[in-house]
Amino acid sequence: MTADLAIDVRGMTKRFGDLTAIDHVDLQVRTGEICGFLGPNGSGKTTFIRMLCGLLRADAGGGICLGHDVIKESDAVKRQVGYMTQRFSFYEDLSIAENLDFVARMYSLKDRRSAVRESLVRLGLEQRRDQLAGQLSGGWKQRLALAACMIHRPRLLLLDEPTAGVDPKARREFWEEIHVLAGQGLTFLIATHYMDEAERCHRLAFISGGSLLTHGTTAEVIDQAHLTTWSVSGPDLLTLAGRLRAHPGVGQAVAFGSALHVSGDDAASLEEAIAPFRTGQYEWKRIDSGLEDVFIQMMEKARRDVSP
């Protein structure tokens, strides 16, 4: 069973002084799976990823990553992991090709030159190979970083918001490539704030305040949330939203184009809340809850739990 798991860690804990940034997180990711890693800003995504690749020492917990002990064999783990940092961390005073070459040497690649060339072609950056990395636009920097962390053909990719600032077309290409690679047996853990990307993952892990709140497929996550959502259209939705939010049964009321999505985790209470507004003026429709509704609901709940 464990042979199937690329990541199998339990009880991972990291403290920064008084702050427990990661609080006993268990996470299992199967080989060949794309796991989306979601959570609000400051929830501990980056910290957790850093612990997996040995950049931060865990205060407690441990486990296996690619068949090696995460804590004790972090060198062995590092050789087979590609880590893309949230902030661009390649050398800005080195050219694109030089950066790739540096990484290729670092992993002692046998056919270094062709690996670099291949990577440049895939990036579509052959013409600009001698341009300094620091002169690239934000999106291109991301793409360079991504190419660089894949150059040594890692078995597991830990990507921290890899598509932040990347244009839609490049993002689509990126996700298509990820799925192809996953089909070949590569495993991905991808931190992201984009819901459309989350929906393209096999499984999702949602972390908040350092604790893992949910883990499962998109459908499972939505199911577990027991969220009921209504869509309403009509005049002056802004005022309506304001009045609905005042009711305890309403978790959120968010505008989507010309409609308002109203949701809550207690179906009966929600219906009670919207009852006074079910007049001819408004058109009400029960819809499936989206991932975003679910996450916002979880974030709100987590916040309420922390500060009652």
């Binding site: 040995g54 950049l55 060198d75 062995a76 590092k78 940092t85 961390s89 992993y107 002692s108």
Partner: protein
């Protein structure tokens, strides 16, 4: 256990990367070349300055003609201005101590009588040698002066007095700084000082820079060993060190005409150990410092004792015991002995090794500390 050893490929990656970065960082590279030139010119200027018209007092205890002739000659050399005449030795020393005069010229009683008798009377020159470069030339001029000044007076029947030894004995009493340093001492010494300053600073910034630019996170996520990173960062700057040595040697030879008695090749060879020692010191500071500013401060605090206690500024034997003890630890102290030994005394490998192993030991200890201190995680 992670039993992966040193990897030539990863080491190479670091070296190539550092070389490229060094080449691109024009400002720093320029500084590495500029600092030696500026220092040499500044020090060279001070050395070249040939101060004349130095204030002197005279204690004339003899009223004979020859005493006066000698004084005229001394004044005519343009090195000395007689600003006052003192009556007693104590008065002269007082003037010297207060810095009122730089020299006291003592023409003793019965000077003329002794001279004419052929007794070689002694003329005592007391010199304030606090700044040897200020008095050195003047005293040098005195020596030639004394043998020629009285030649006109000692013609004819007295010519037997003007023999090879000279008719007058010159006794120089260099006060305050008995071990006068000449510029032959300074220029070769400057080589060590320049290397210490630039090498420690440049690598002092090495790790902190990676940390501050955020590239450390990437570097640490790769399977590197501390030795590969640290030594990889040192290598390119060895070249810079050699450029500096070449520069200093060329200037010393062509501009200051410093003699090169020993083998410059031997000097080049042993300089490697000294360069590595300083680069290691810098890189170790870098692993301890939290940011670039701290690294700079540490480099500075290393530089100060190096320049003060190594024998560059003050004669080593003139320092108190504790200062000598500190000085003995510093690589610059030993390197100064090596450079001066090779260039001025013509020392060979045998003498050099006596100092060299101490520099090597320093480098090894410091680098070991650096490797141990190198943090392999971000926390």
């Amino acid at each position: 256990m992670s039993g992966y050893g040193f990897s030539p490929s990863r080491f190479c990656a670091m070296v190539v990367k550092e070389f490229i970065q060094m080449r691109r960082d024009r400002l720093t590279f320029g500084m590495m070349i500029g600092i030696p030139i500026v220092q040499l010119i500044l020090f060279g200027f001070a050395i070249n300055a040939d101060p004349r018209h130095l204030p002197a007092a005279v204690l004339l205890a003899d009223r004979g003609a020859q005493g006066r002739t000698l004084l005229y000659a001394v004044r005519n050399s343009s090195y000395f201005d007689f600003v006052r005449e003192v009556k007693t030795e104590a008065e002269g020393q007082d003037a010297l101590a207060r810095g009122e005069v730089q020299f006291v010229v003592n023409i003793p009683e019965n000077f003329t009588r002794d001279l004419l008798r052929g007794d070689r009377p002694a003329v005592l020159i007391e010199a304030d040698a606090t700044d040897p470069s200020a008095t050195g030339n003047a005293l040098g001029a005195l020596r030639t002066l004394f043998s020629t000044a009285l030649q006109n007076d000692l013609k004819g029947p007295l010519s037997f007095l003007a023999d090879a030894e000279g008719p007058v004995e010159l006794r120089i009493h260099a006060r305050y700084n008995p071990e006068g340093i000449t510029y032959y001492n300074i220029v070769p010494g400057l080589m060590g000082v320049i290397l210490t300053m630039t090498m420690v600073i440049i690598t002092g910034l090495a790790i902190t820079r990676e940390r501050e630019r955020g590239t450390m996170e990437n570097l640490l996520s790769m399977p590197t060993r501390p030795v590969e990173v640290l030594i990889g960062k040192i290598i390119p700057y060895i070249l810079v060190g050699y450029i500096q040595i070449g520069l200093v040697l060329a200037v010393a030879y062509f501009l200051f005409h410093v003699p090169m008695v020993g083998s410059p090749i031997l000097l080049f060879a042993v300089a490697l150990v000294f360069i590595i020692a300083n680069l290691s010191m810098g890189i170790t500071f870098s692993t301890v410092a939290k940011n670039q500013l701290q690294a700079m401060q540490m480099a500075f605090f290393f530089f100060l004792p190096s320049i003060m206690l190594s024998g560059f500024m003050f004669p080593f034997r003139g320092m108190p015991r504790w200062a000598q003890a500190i000085g003995e630890i510093l690589p610059l102290t030993h390197f100064l002995r090596i450079v001066r030994g090779i260039l001025l005394k013509g020392n060979g490998a045998e003498e050099v090794v006596l100092q060299l192993w101490q520099i090597a030991l320093f480098a090894a200890v410091v680098l070991t500390i650096g490797v141990k201190r190198y943090r392999r995680t971000l926390d």
